[in-house]
Symmetry: C2
Subunit: 312 residues, 2 copies
């Protein structure tokens, strides 16, 4: 019996509404082994929009060689044209990606940076500063076209090679991304090691150095089970943009190391219990994730999806 559950009991000093930045179709599918057909992706994004999500990162205009799972961006994006009132940002790695995205009508883009040198080298084949230099013309041209720019910043709390990442190091790159003209940042705990005090310390230091909370989204991974507690800490700091992945896409429940994103359903369960508006219909969203899990041939790693679908 889940009628009336979660019971709505607001906590003090939380924002009345949170915007969920849904990353399942991009960050999630990019990290799944199964390559999903374009028409399934298109139906997925349509279903996410029908479930009430208002920001759905759709795909990535990266070279197909690097991310074969999203090699169909050019085919997929036009199939989303009929979705109204929903922001459909796309990831672009460079000017070539920007050209392809804008040519198809994208009005929101995201660039993907790193707070650590090791990950910048391994993921972008550049130093942190070289990657910022690469983003500069991308962001400048996007701004000229009045295209909204999100700056992802990965490894904000720990790095698999470097270990703990100092707050001041993250702040430096975050400020640089804002100085380039990014409209918002997404602070990524890419390996899922953050804890709530660390989250609040980073947010406070960013504020201190002129980055307002209103420009900050948080992007937690559930590798160590910390994602939702960290989200609560961010909400208590005033954050109103939270990244999550429908059904926890991108993390495999059978892998020894489940490195997935925070599942949108687990987030929505907490927010609705807290009386924080999301606009999301949890039943429709869960049904969508169950449907996608069937297409991927494995159960969803989201605990809420498993609990709710077991009861249906």
């Amino acid at each position: 019996m889940t009628d009336g559950l979660p019971m709505e009991v607001p906590a003090q000093d939380l924002p009345p509404r949170v915007r969920i930045h849904e990353v399942g179709a991009r960050d999630g599918l990019q990290n799944e082994k199964t390559v999903v057909p374009t028409e399934v992706k298109a139906e997925f994004v349509h279903r996410l929009a029908a479930a009430g999500l208002t920001t759905i990162e759709a795909t990535s205009f990266v070279h197909p060689k690097w991310v074969p799972q999203l090699a169909d961006a050019e085919q997929l994006f036009p199939q989303l044209e009929d979705i109204k009132g929903v922001a459909l940002p796309v990831l672009v790695p460079n000017e070539r990606g920007l050209d392809r995205a804008v040519a198809l009508g994208a009005r929101r883009i995201a660039v993907f940076g790193s707070a650590t040198e090791t990950f910048a080298r391994r993921n972008l084949n550049r130093t942190v500063d070289e990657s910022l230099a690469m983003f500069e013309p991308v962001v400048a041209r996007a701004k000229d076209d009045k295209v909204h720019v999100r700056g992802y910043l990965s490894m904000c709390f720990g790095d698999p090679w470097e270990g703990p990442v100092p707050v001041h190091q993250v702040v430096r790159v975050a400020k640089a991304l804002m100085d380039l003209g990014c409209d918002e940042l997404s602070l990524g705990d890419t390996i899922g090691v953050a804890t709530p005090g660390h989250v609040q310390a980073l947010l406070a230091q960013l504020n201190e150095e002129g980055v307002p909370t209103s420009a900050i989204g948080v992007h937690f991974h559930d590798t160590y089970g910390q994602a939702l507690a960290n989200t609560l800490a961010a909400l208590q700091h005033g954050v109103t943009t939270v990244d999550a992945s429908a059904g926890g896409l991108g993390g495999c429940p059978y892998a020894k190391s489940a490195t997935g994103n925070l599942a949108t359903e687990d987030l929505v369960w907490m927010l609705h219990g807290l009386g924080v508006e999301t606009g999301v219909d949890l039943g429709l969203l869960t049904a969508t994730s169950v449907w996608m899990a069937e297409r991927l041939g494995r159960p969803s790693p989201s605990r809420t999806v498993r609990a709710l679908s077991h009861k249906e």
Copy 2:
């Protein structure tokens, strides 16, 4: 690389130290399909103590017919005699159970009540008030013997048959357990539906009606992924006793509905990141849970156990 992780960054207004009430050997194993041999249980408790846990609920002196997994309480408990400086509470359902436990030298017991009538009837075959009447002589005799008594209160946030559980209903039964003479309470979110505002509202109302936070432990389940966020909310309210189950014992990672306890490792990761002392060695604890998972023939549902054991 996990050296130096989680990075220790204290949050404001949290207790400096938390006592983890480890329930894996009782609540965990009671809910596993596999019946574990007595000598494995004994080694498990010894290993938990060696990992630094100071309160380890050891077994249950319930009739073997009801809980076959723990039918060996009489054989197990004497095998734990050499464990020094560790509290080893045992569950007792009634006076007969109390007699058996105390005869073997138990100095801490727990009774198991329900906040809802439906669960009281189904689990205890009594109304809530009839179950309180049953506990009365158990607690009175325990107090006469200076035996420490914990009162479990299940279904504090939601009930699978009744849905949402009103706060005042929980407070009434909690106060009744305290009035019987219980030294501490454990507030159970048995079906895992609670959210952080609900947790704080219940704690505040209990304080209002005379139950001090120092007498309250929290017992969260991760069915909807909320356990650690709820724990953070409880810590922020001042709670210093948190129940958890090593490796998330009691919840199956392959079941559609993972109804398990909060995993002790996930809790310890957060607490150590927050700079909250637990006395627990996370490496030893994780190794213990990996070892137990092998005995159970399935991986641990704890995300921290999976992440750390993958990297070892």
